[in-house]
């Protein structure tokens, strides 16, 4: 599951929804994979305003990845002003969000401590009946 997806996932329990601690989920014993893919500049440009940047920063620290800047890059920072080519900022974002994925491990809710297992890249958010 690509790192980007984690920016949109929270605890599945209805009782946790009202607590800010339920987002983002905290990776535990996560094994990461790097898969080279073509840069999708238009997508990154569109999704950037929808990202929760604080959550993104928390995630990179918890995964031991290079730290992100304090503020999200502006749209202009994504392109080289002369050539229109993707900037280094864009390439770094691409590598983090799109090429890095969690292959296995768990995702822990900061509110209820429940852990969701990730196996073969697929996260399991199915809750036992007493948590529904």
């Amino acid at each position: 599951m690509k790192i980007l997806t984690l920016n949109f996932l929270c605890c599945a329990r209805k009782t946790c929804k009202s607590s800010p601690a339920s987002f983002p989920l905290h990776p535990k014993e996560a094994s990461l994979e790097q898969i080279e893919t073509d840069i999708n500049a238009l997508f990154i440009k569109n999704i950037l305003p929808r990202l929760d940047w604080e959550a993104m920063k928390t995630l990179t620290i918890e995964l031991g990845l290079p730290a992100l800047p304090t503020e999200p890059p502006s749209p202009e920072a994504l392109e080289d002003p002369d050539s229109g080519e993707p900037s280094q900022t864009l390439k770094d974002l691409h590598q983090l969000l799109m090429e890095t994925s969690i292959e296995s491990g768990a995702l822990r809710c900061g509110n209820c401590d429940h852990e969701y297992a990730v196996k073969e890249g697929i996260a399991n958010f199915l809750l036992p009946s007493h948590m529904v």
Partner: protein
């Protein structure tokens, strides 16, 4: 210049909405000059375009319901009026086509001609005085005479003439054909309508789509075909994982769109792990209809058994590696409402929800075995204050039908706040009733207040006259 769109004569209700969705996405302003549900020939005008020809080609190139688009050179209700219109409309451009190689073709709907008849018709166009060579296989220009006949009629009711510009998007159907796909199941939707659905959802590069009932990924691969990034979830994780190298991922790899697939999750829509904020461009789904197999969500069927289970060895059951959470039956109508609520709170402004649902008439079983005790009930079009209905298109099978509903998320400023508060209050009430949602009273109260019947003004806007009286379902009392 006006353009003639040559549609296929199937899935008629999908044709105009699909093209309208694409036009809106590509910001091409079109006007429907002529459209008839019973004819494959439609005429559109393209307004305020710098290059209308390029716009026309771009518009249809991804339309699955379109065979091709033509520059309209003339039309009429007879050959006499056609020739007069051709001279009127197009004579000023004939000089540009004097020298190029060309060929004429005939497209007769509900009729056919002998070679000699066709030749005669082509020769009647000699007043255009094209001097270029006639080349059959790859001419510079192709011109087509279109004839539209009523079934069993000898005389065409309409004839048109046009210059070929470009083909529609139907080639994609062959690429995505289920027979060639690496991983399918009984729930996989056919390529044609999955691609149409992705068009209705305005999937395009730079966008993010989500399917909460992903199954084997039919909708996600169609979204990715048009360049949208996509991810999905399903209550059944095995269906995402697949086996022996065949999985949702292997499908994306087959179509070389794996970079657009952001992953699959095992999840229940009614206990969704998706953060409650507005970030999706499209939600595309074919929810389980709950007739044959029984629609299920997380939870135990017996409310008394919804407690934590401790095994004999003192360990918690749900923490074991092989634990499978229990599921319970759920009402289809409530699921529709859950999808609406979910979509309203996750779609960005202008984002689209495309959802398939069954129509009354016969059981879900396509074999049409009406001896079964459960018939699909008549389901009215679900409503939500933040989602406006864009289109409703029905696919007719032999004894039943299903329809694609497309909604658009309107900006918060345009949402009726009172209606929204009322909907949310009712949802909370239903929630606190626990499993009592399966009671008929609760369902009826829900249905009466927030669902509208078949013969609503909105329904009539899309269906001014019943297409086929024998197929129109009777409203339930």
């Amino acid at each position: 210049m006006e353009y003639m769109v040559r549609f296929i004569q199937m899935h008629e209700e999908f044709r105009r909405p699909e093209l309208d969705a694409i036009a809106e996405l590509l910001e091409i302003d079109i006007t429907w000059v002529a459209y008839d549900e019973n004819s494959p020939f439609a005429i559109i005008a393209i307004n305020q375009a710098d290059d209308p020809t390029a716009a026309a080609k771009g518009l249809v190139s991804r339309a699955i319901m379109v065979s091709a688009v033509f520059e309209l050179w003339g039309f009429g209700d007879s050959y006499d009026t056609l020739h007069a219109d051709i001279k009127d409309r197009s004579s000023h451009v004939w000089p540009s086509y004097q020298e190029c190689s060309f060929r004429f073709e005939m497209d007769a709907y509900h009729s056919s001609h002998t070679h000699a008849q066709r030749r005669g018709i082509f020769e009647s166009l000699s007043y255009m005085a094209f001097r270029g060579p006639i080349v059959m296989s790859t001419p510079n220009e192709r011109f087509t005479i279109f004839e539209d006949y009523d079934l069993d009629s000898n005389v065409p009711k309409q004839v048109l003439f046009g210059r070929y510009l470009g083909e529609g998007g139907r080639k994609a159907m062959s690429t995505y054909d289920l027979k060639k796909r690496s991983y399918i199941s009984t729930t996989s939707m056919d390529a044609e309508l999955s691609l149409v659905t992705a068009n209705m959802a305005q999937c395009a590069p730079g966008k993010l789509a989500y399917d909460p009932f992903m199954g084997t990924g039919s909708f996600p691969v169609s979204c990715a075909h048009f360049g949208s990034a996509v991810f999905g979830s399903d209550l059944d994780g095995r269906s995402i994982r697949g086996k022996k190298g065949r999985s949702v991922m292997s499908n994306f790899k087959q179509y070389s769109t794996a970079s657009l697939y952001f992953g699959g999750l095992a999840a229940d829509l009614t206990n969704s792990p998706l953060h409650t904020r507005r970030f999706l461009d499209a939600i595309v789904c074919d929810p389980p209809y709950g007739v044959r197999e029984g629609l299920k969500v997380l939870g135990h069927a017996k409310e008394s058994l919804q407690h934590e289970v401790i095994l004999n060895n003192g360990m918690k059951a749900h923490l074991q590696a092989d634990y499978i959470p229990p599921k319970r039956p759920y009402s289809f109508l409530r699921m529709l409402d859950d999808i609406m609520d979910f979509s309203a709170s996750r779609l960005v402004n202008g984002g689209r929800l495309c959802m398939w649902m069954p129509v009354a008439g016969a059981p879900e079983d396509a074999d049409g075995d009406t001896a079964g005790e459960q018939e699909t009930e008549e389901y009215a079009i679900p409503q939500h204050p933040a989602l406006v209905v864009v289109s409703e298109c029905t696919q007719y099978f032999n004894k039943w039908s299903r329809r694609l509903l497309t909604y658009k998320r309107i900006p918060d400023e345009e949402v009726d706040a009172e209606a929204l508060a009322a909907v949310q209050l009712l949802r909370l009430q239903l929630e606190s009733n626990g499993h009592a949602d399966l009671g008929a009273n609760d369902l009826n109260a829900f249905r009466k207040k927030y669902f509208q019947g078949f013969k609503t003004p909105l329904f009539q806007q899309f269906h001014p006259e019943p297409r086929d009286q024998s197929r129109t379902p009777e409203p339930s009392t």
